[in-house]
Amino acid sequence: MSARPAASLFSARILVLVMMAVSLVSAAPAQSQTTRITRVVSPGGIEAWLVRDTTLPLLAMEFAFLGGAAQDPAERPGIASLAASLLDEGAGEYDAERFHQALADKAIELHFDAGRDELRGSVRTLSENRDAAFDMLRLSVTQPRFDTEAVERIRTAQLASLRRRSTDPNSLANERWFALAFPNHPYGRPVDGTLASVADITREDLAGFAKRNLARSNLRVAVVGDITPEELATELDRVFGALPATAQLTPVADVQPQGLGKTDVIPLDVPQSVVMIGTDGLERQDPDFIPAYVLNHILGGSAFSSRLFKEVREARGLAYSVYSYQVALEHVGLWFAGTATKNDRAGESIKIINAEFQQILDQGPTQEELDEAKSYLTGSYALRFDTSAKIAGQLLQIQIDKLGMDYIDRRNSLIEAVTLEDLRRVSQRLAGARKALVVVAGRPVGVVGN
């Protein structure tokens, strides 16, 4: 139990990334001036960003293949997700059991996960087992087996998970929101599929996904730990060199959310209504993304001092968790707020959150709020870089977002430069956010669908 919900509860918090291992200096060329990130390019042309750190005998790698669940066919969502779950279920000469044993015997951690726009992977290993870890990774991405036994077993687990989520208010609200906002677009489909679609996925679907999506052209890699740039260059070719040069991705259209101004209620017998309010936001590449990020921080991004926290939780005790966050997907920018509140006060909570959106868009924050937001956002920069996996995650996200190797050095000055005038401009650009698509799961009092 804790006084405040952890940010990790709200997984969609795709926000700005930062640097800390800053002030680490190094001399190699092709390198950021003030950080020790090294861009490593293998003889075969595979790029990775490396922070070499030999303090501890371990290594963390984070990587992504761009594409993700948005590549799933309209009639069969869930292929990317199921394929990701199967990459470590047998590869090369290893069947699933022997594959897992080989990992466990050396305490190597290897995970894959599909998101809307990428399939992500991570490796964590002790330095002494680095060769074995890279071997297993190589097999999983270049020679996944998709054996019938493994496919059926993982399908069974996926279906059990979908059944569990079929009555969970958070999952229901989230899935319904995306379905209503993006009716004829890949973003409208559930990432993990449906009970019907997962039952239908074939081995050919999975192998086909791997063949088209796991390639060198859409690969992004970040590594932190006990390895030299030269060693990493060699390993990159060994691990990923056998992948096809170019991914065969289906183009995904840019899109805008539909249904703003509508409310949808999912009747469910729970004591508390889960509320998801979503509207227009900005894409990550947008020059106004940083001002919008600051604006959101003031509205509901800070767990401690945001307007939503003060009005909904502190002043009225309506909820334990209330927050807002931006989601910058590859083809749309979104802005969400959410809470969970007892049914008979759900209507009141939604009214307050809507009023706070209006207020901050119409009148903007005060100079004092802006100053405090900047102070927090720049000061907390360092905290995102205090473990190997966190640093690798940041380096990967910067690559995916195409922000450049020097982003880490620039980021705080971008925040510092934000003015009230910038926030006014962003508010005008986000005028559409005065209307939102509201989805409520529960038995909310005073909330009617339309």
Binding site: M1, S2, A3, P267
Partner: protein, 450 residues
């Protein structure tokens, strides 16, 4: 931060820090405050935590939830620093803060750039004895806690069954009540209850200060003397909780709810903790949890999911870090068409075989490798280290014990694991829980859209 009793977090608590582990410095101030300093010089940040040796199991009968409610109220200001002052300052410094409550401890923390350590120590020391509460802040916060309970427990049938399982495991010890408290008792808690509890337990001689990060022990000592050192010692009560009798009967709890779309089986056994176990016993239970439930190479997964095809998933956990007798758990979810009775019978078979033969040599070696690797992985995260040593202290485990842990794990034999299973994984020590949909009810439930 989530509840510390969650399955799985248990292992992470003590299972870390190796003999070649961090160089922890420990000393005591004249007023009885224990101080631990854990060096991590990789980034210029610190994690500052204060742990009080008081949790939900130290509550007076009829006041369940008061430890956790007080944790919330600790953010409401002091004589010197009015409401919001401390949190506002942490935010301005770019710091992160939170707190959490377990059955045995309550902890508060901030993560800040190292130059701000003195500031957060000053505020935290101030609220050790300076808390000031009015009904204007206490009453809305009680509603917040009730919403927290609705969110974590009441809205989730699986969590409700877990709560019942825990309550049934203990027939006499206060571990039987939930950390967040029973709803009818939370509703009665008030300002006077909170202040009485605060005055009784919050004192330097009942606390440990843990500082991890880019700091030197002597610098921390000087700051600690200046801030916490001036707080007088208080007469806090010794821990003397009613203990469990020797268990006599297997108990069963079951929950049928229309929202259960995926049934499951949970079981917990009453077992010793690191503090109460005979030498070597808790280590054997740690290894046993790995051998039975260590991911896809664990016995339960291999037997129930892979070999017999009865389950969609299965696992095990051991909540090793507890002051008194604790719990060992196993769980599984059936595949469609498999009854919980059939699954339970198969699960009993796996446990019985372990008690009869123990693990094989390969399983034993694998479990030890994974457990000892955790100790090295933990060193990559200063916040994790701070939590390991803080939780150990609050449950009667010393720094030396934590640092010896990997070596003790390496000494566990096949016979030790077999003996642990034989002695403790027996039905009279257990509660078995069934989570099911109502008989003949159609599961999966959101109604049609309104």
């Amino acid at each position: 931060m989530i509840a510390m009793v969650a399955a799985g977090t248990a292992a992470a608590t003590l299972n870390a820090a190796s003999a070649a582990g961090p160089d922890v410095t420990q000393y005591q101030l004249a007023n009885g405050l224990t101080v631990m300093v854990i060096p991590d010089h990789r980034a210029p940040v610190v994690t500052h935590m204060v742990w009080y040796k008081v949790g939900s199991a130290d509550e007076q009968a009829g006041k369940s939830g008061i430890a956790h409610f007080l944790e919330h109220l600790m953010f409401k200001g002091t004589e010197k620093a009015g409401p919001g002052k401390f949190s506002g300052e942490v935010a301005r410094l770019g710091g992160q803060e939170n707190a959490f409550t377990s059955q045995d401890y309550t902890a508060y923390y901030q993560r800040v750039a190292k130059e701000h350590l003195e500031t957060v120590m000053t505020f935290e020391a101030d609220r050790m004895t300076g808390l000031k509460l009015s009904d204007a802040v206490v009453l809305p916060e009680r509603d917040v806690v009730l919403e927290e309970r609705r969110m974590r427990t009441d809205s989730d049938p699986g969590a409700r069954l877990s709560e019942a399982l825990q309550a049934a495991t203990y027939v006499n010890h206060p571990y039987q009540h939930p950390i967040i408290g029973w709803e009818h008792e939370i509703k009665q808690l008030n300002r006077e209850d909170a202040l009485a509890f605060y005055r009784r337990f919050y004192a330097p001689n009942n606390a440990v200060l843990v500082v991890a990060g880019d700091v030197e022990p002597e610098a921390v000592r000087a700051l600690a003397e200046k801030t916490y050192g001036v707080i007088p010692r208080a007469d806090t009560p010794p821990r003397n909780r009613p203990q469990e009798p020797e268990p006599q009967v297997h108990r069963r709890v079951s929950l049928s709810d229309p929202r259960v779309a995926q049934p499951s089986l949970q079981r917990s056994y009453l077992v010793p903790s690191y503090r109460t176990a005979k030498p070597g016993e808790a280590e054997a239970l740690d290894v046993l949890a790995q051998v039975l439930g260590g991911g896809q190479t664990g016995r339960l997964y291999r037997e129930l999911v892979v070999e017999q095809g009865l389950a969609a998933g299965a696992g095990a956990w051991y909540h090793s870090t507890a002051y008194d007798e604790t719990r060992f758990g196993i769980s599984a979810s059936p595949r469609p068409g498999v009854t919980l009775e059939a699954l339970e019978q198969a699960m009993d078979g796996v446990v019985a075989k372990m008690a009869k033969d123990g693990p094989d040599d390969v399983e034993l070696a694998r479990a030890k490798t994974r457990l000892t690797a955790e100790a090295i992985y933990a060193r990559d995260n200063q916040a994790t280290l701070a939590r390991i040593y803080g939780a150990a202290w609050a449950t009667g485990i010393s720094v030396e014990d934590v640092n010896r842990w990997p070596d003790l794990i390496k000494r566990v034999s096949v016979a030790d694991v077999k003996a642990a299973a034989e002695q403790y994984l027996v039905l009279k020590r257990a509660v078995t829980g069934y989570l099911t949909p109502p008989p003949a009810a159609a599961p999966a439930a959101p109604e049609k859209r309104s």
